[in-house]
């Protein structure tokens, strides 16, 4: 069920009606969120709900144990019943062929009980071991469903280099939608409890609703438990102002997705599917098309997620803040996919040592974090190359101390502005080059793309007309957003600008939206 589908509008309308009716009963509202979220996620493939349930129960139990609390019999029973009943419901439509899933869950429960007993009996530092279990289960799910085939193929290729011939193990599995997002979200819950930043929840319902919260379940933002989970325990105010601003934020996201991203997608696809036959100008145009396609696709989704959550009385963190106005790579990562970059900073970069050690160690930590961040996006060498490239430019800018210079330069408005424009332009070109690694199917395509651009270099292309047709309004909108320092242009601006921007967005959605419902790029990550 995509945000840009008719089914979602029906689903959300019906859901909101029930949600509003139960506005004075928090637990009923939370139950509705859980059921609604499972219906929403199950619309892709109901069997994958089992993975969410496993992740939820694991972190619920480990969270309590990490904080040093003993599990009551009632809590254990509740968790077990939730897991078994949830699994049964999830496999019901395909019961005969999915019976093995139930078997696997029962085995998992046995192993889990054994592990819990062993940890309690044989180890001294329970907290660390439970954190280890939580990370193993979540990364295990991610590893099996996302990376098995990639690592297996890479191992075979590596062995071939030395003349050893290995048989590749290939798992015939589909990547469960949003697995990278919710596993990272639940991991942050356990880690934050371990670090003493938050207390665990005793309520399985709220925990399950937090993990499966449908607005941000499949493509983020990757929320922090310390920010989102407490909102499930507070009475939520469903006021007109939140509803209206949420609705316009949703419409703004929908505009970016269906009008810009979906119309630029065929142009980028055409260029990337056959780069050898394209002129230098076509390749550049295709790359620019993808640059804005991925931005509008992903930030559009984030806006829709934040908008729909706000309509339900929730506050979800900002994920994009005009990233193409960044002057340096570090600024870019404070503006692009903020929830992931801050996650990587807090749970990977800082534990690796951050910038506390030698300069070399800082650069190593930066590069390693970015490479793993690249790998998070997908199981392909192109993503690793993209991560390495991001790490490289971060290190380069650090070497040149550009961020330090920006903070210490004397105040001179006109010169500063000109310097900013120059830095933004350079950074934009670097970002665009990065997207080439990200979008290409293989490193061979990257090579042929680059040779195509620089061989007989030219800018002109017939594709620019269509690209600029969709991009020009966005550029104008973003310039206004940047100038006014206001991201919610359809809600928080002067009423004349607001009315015209709203009408423009609505008319664009009605008359210029690409036909058909196209999936979001980040659903594959």
């Amino acid at each position: 069920m995509l945000f840009n589908s008719f089914h979602f509008f029906i689903f959300f309308g019906f859901f909101f009606f029930l949600y509003y009716l139960s506005r004075n009963h928090l637990r009923i509202q939370n139950s509705l969120i859980l059921i609604g979220s499972y219906i929403f996620y199950g619309s892709w493939d109901e069997r994958f709900l089992v993975l969410i349930i496993v992740s939820t129960v694991t972190d619920y139990v480990t969270g309590l144990r990490i904080s040093g609390e003993k599990l009551t019999r009632q809590q254990i029973m509740r968790a077990t019943i939730f897991m078994l009943v949830g699994t049964l419901i999830a496999i019901l439509p395909t019961f005969a062929e999915s019976l093995w899933i139930l078997g696997s869950v029962v085995c998992f429960l046995f192993v889990a009980i054994l592990i819990v007993c062993s940890i309690d009996k044989f180890t001294l530092n329970h907290r660390k071991w439970y954190l280890f279990v939580s990370i193993c289960v979540n990364l295990g799910l991610l590893g099996v469903f996302k990376y098995t085939n990639f690592f297996s193929a890479s191992l075979v290729d590596f062995a071939n280099v030395f003349g050893w011939h290995l048989d590749q193990i290939t798992l015939n599995v589909i990547l469960p939608v949003g697995i990278s997002f919710y596993t990272f979200q639940t991991m942050s819950y356990s880690i934050d409890i371990y670090r003493g930043k938050m207390k665990p929840t005793h309520n399985l319902l709220e925990m399950a609703s937090f993990v499966a919260f449908f607005p941000q379940l499949v493509a983020g933002p990757i929320e922090r438990a310390s920010h989102l989970l407490p909102q499930f325990f507070k009475s939520r105010q469903l006021n007109k102002s939140d509803f209206t601003s949420g609705l316009w934020l949703f419409i703004w996201g929908l505009y970016k997705k269906v009008v810009i991203a979906d119309n630029l997608a065929p142009i980028a696809d055409r260029v990337f599917s056959n780069p050898e036959t394209m002129t230098s100008g076509d390749l550049i145009a295709g790359l620019i098309a993808f640059t804005f396609q991925i931005y509008c696709d992903f930030s559009g989704y984030s806006d829709m997620a934040r908008g729909s959550a706000r309509m339900l009385g929730f506050d979800i963190m900002l994920n994009f803040k005009l990233p193409y106005f960044s002057r340096t790579p570090s600024e870019f990562w404070q503006r692009w996919h903020i929830s992931l970059s801050s996650w990587l900073r807090d749970y990977l970069y800082i534990p690796l040592g951050g910038n506390r050690g030698t300069t070399f160690r800082t650069y190593r930590n930066l590069t390693l974090t970015m490479v793993l961040g690249g790998l998070w996006h997908g199981a392909n060498w192109t993503f690793i190359a993209w991560g390495a490239y991001q790490g490289f430019i971060l290190v380069l800018y650090r070497l040149l101390a550009i961020d330090n210079w920006l903070h210490s330069r004397p105040t001179n408005n006109i010169i500063n502005k000109l310097q900013d424009i120059l830095l933004i332009s350079i950074m934009f070109i670097l970002i665009v080059i990065g997207w080439l690694f990200f979008r290409a199917d293989s490193l061979t395509v990257v090579a042929s793309f680059l040779s195509g651009i620089f061989y007989d270099f030219q800018i002109s292309s017939k594709l620019w007309h269509d690209i600029m047709f969709y991009l020009s309004p966005l550029i104008i909108f973003q310039l206004i957003q940047h100038y006014k320092n206001e991201l919610e242009l359809l809600y928080n601006t002067h009423y004349i600008l607001k009315i015209n921007a709203r009408l423009f967005a609505l008319c664009s959605i009605i008359f210029l939206a690409s036909s058909g419902e196209q999936q979001f790029i980040y659903f594959d990550f």
Partner: protein
């Protein structure tokens, strides 16, 4: 704020939004303006509004539509009784035969008459085409109105969209392979349209507003899809993947989908009816051309042996040859009808088929 002020504000906002949307469509998504001036004909189906004149405007072209007192796109009036030694050709079709997007002088019917007259065959072509017609409505129009013109030749247009139109209209159905009349009326949206057409504001909007045109097109497409799906679902008319289904009783014979069976029966029924009123019957194929896709003949949707039962003229080869030489035959930015060249090629093709046939020569050789 007082209620009065609020009302004024809301009305102003609605008015401003409409103006904004109209200009938005004109600038960013120019839409063709092709009002349909149709009403109910006395025999239960749609007909052109008699004596109406209006414009069709698309990004490609602008055409003036003039309808005579009998609902025919023509500047002439026709009497039911024909002149002696005059061959009368009555044509039935949808917007292609009606000459949408081209002027009267560039329409197929006009060009056909002109070509035949130039070549010494004083034929008269009467165009009973109405936009939106399928084969079922053409058959009703032939039986109820066309026969009154005493035709010597009846020409039916064949377009692949007729397969759906015939199902949607529900005028005929098949009962054990026999064609039966199911409903006496098929007047989709005509009551509302007739009521709205009384208002000059509405007529102004349909002839000038691209916003209205865009919204109507979008709604019509969705409703048509819904109706076609519903009708075919409720009556199991088009079995899914029908090409792959084999008739269980005759295992070697592929099962023909219902909509194709119905269309064939309707065409054969029109042929038989034409014979019964001493008229020859001919079918003209309208090749299908979607933007950026290869052109194909609408006949490809019919059984291959249909040509042995019906006299069919298809311009597909000529069209493909011209297209390969970069000639445009359809308006690509408008509603996708034949352009001037397209109409001319079809008229030429039908003219040469008729001139080369024994039938037309014997018609004029025969003492009348």
């Amino acid at each position: 704020m007082s209620t009065f002020k609020k009302t004024i504000l809301i009305i102003s906002l609605i008015f401003y939004s409409l103006i904004f949307a109209e200009y938005f469509v004109r600038i960013f998504s120019p839409e063709k303006i092709m009002p349909r001036y149709v009403t109910s004909a006395p025999y239960g189906i749609r007909g052109n509004i008699p004596n109406s004149t209006y414009w069709h405007t698309t990004p490609d072209t602008r055409a003036h539509m003039r309808i005579n007192s009998a609902g025919i796109r023509s500047d002439k009036e026709y009497s039911y009784t024909k002149k002696p030694r005059q061959c009368r050709i009555v044509i039935f079709g949808d917007s292609f035969f009606m000459g949408y997007e081209v002027s009267l002088e560039d329409s197929f019917a006009y060009l056909l008459e002109n070509e035949l007259n130039i070549r010494g065959y004083p034929c008269e072509v009467i165009n009973l085409a109405v936009s939106g017609f399928g084969t079922a409505e053409m058959l009703v129009a032939l039986q109820e109105e066309g026969k009154k013109y005493q035709p010597d030749l009846v020409i039916f247009q064949w377009h692949e969209s007729d397969l759906d139109e015939n199902i949607r209209s529900n005028l005929y159905s098949l009962n054990k392979d026999t064609l039966v009349r199911k409903n006496n009326k098929y007047l989709p949206g005509i009551k509302t349209r007739d009521w709205l057409m009384q208002f000059s504001v509405y007529r102004f909007i349909i002839e000038n507003s691209q916003l209205y045109s865009a919204l109507r097109e979008s709604a019509a497409t969705k409703i048509k899809r819904f109706l076609a799906k519903n009708t075919s679902n409720s009556q199991s008319r088009t079995p899914p993947h029908s090409d792959n289904i084999v008739d269980a009783t005759h295992s070697t014979k592929p099962l023909v989908p219902y909509n194709i069976k119905l269309a064939v029966k309707l065409l054969l029924s029109a042929k038989n009816y034409s014979s019964s009123i001493n008229a020859k019957f001919m079918v003209v194929d309208v090749p299908v051309k979607w933007k950026n896709q290869e052109m194909y003949s609408s006949l490809s949707k019919l059984p291959k042996d249909i040509g042995s039962d019906l006299s069919i003229v298809t311009p597909i080869n000529k069209f493909k040859q011209l297209e390969s030489n970069n000639n445009l035959l359809y308006y690509e930015n408008g509603a996708g009808h034949w352009n001037v060249l397209g109409n001319k090629i079809v008229a030429d093709q039908v003219t040469s088929t008729l001139i080369n046939s024994d039938w037309l020569n014997s018609f004029y050789a025969m003492p009348q």
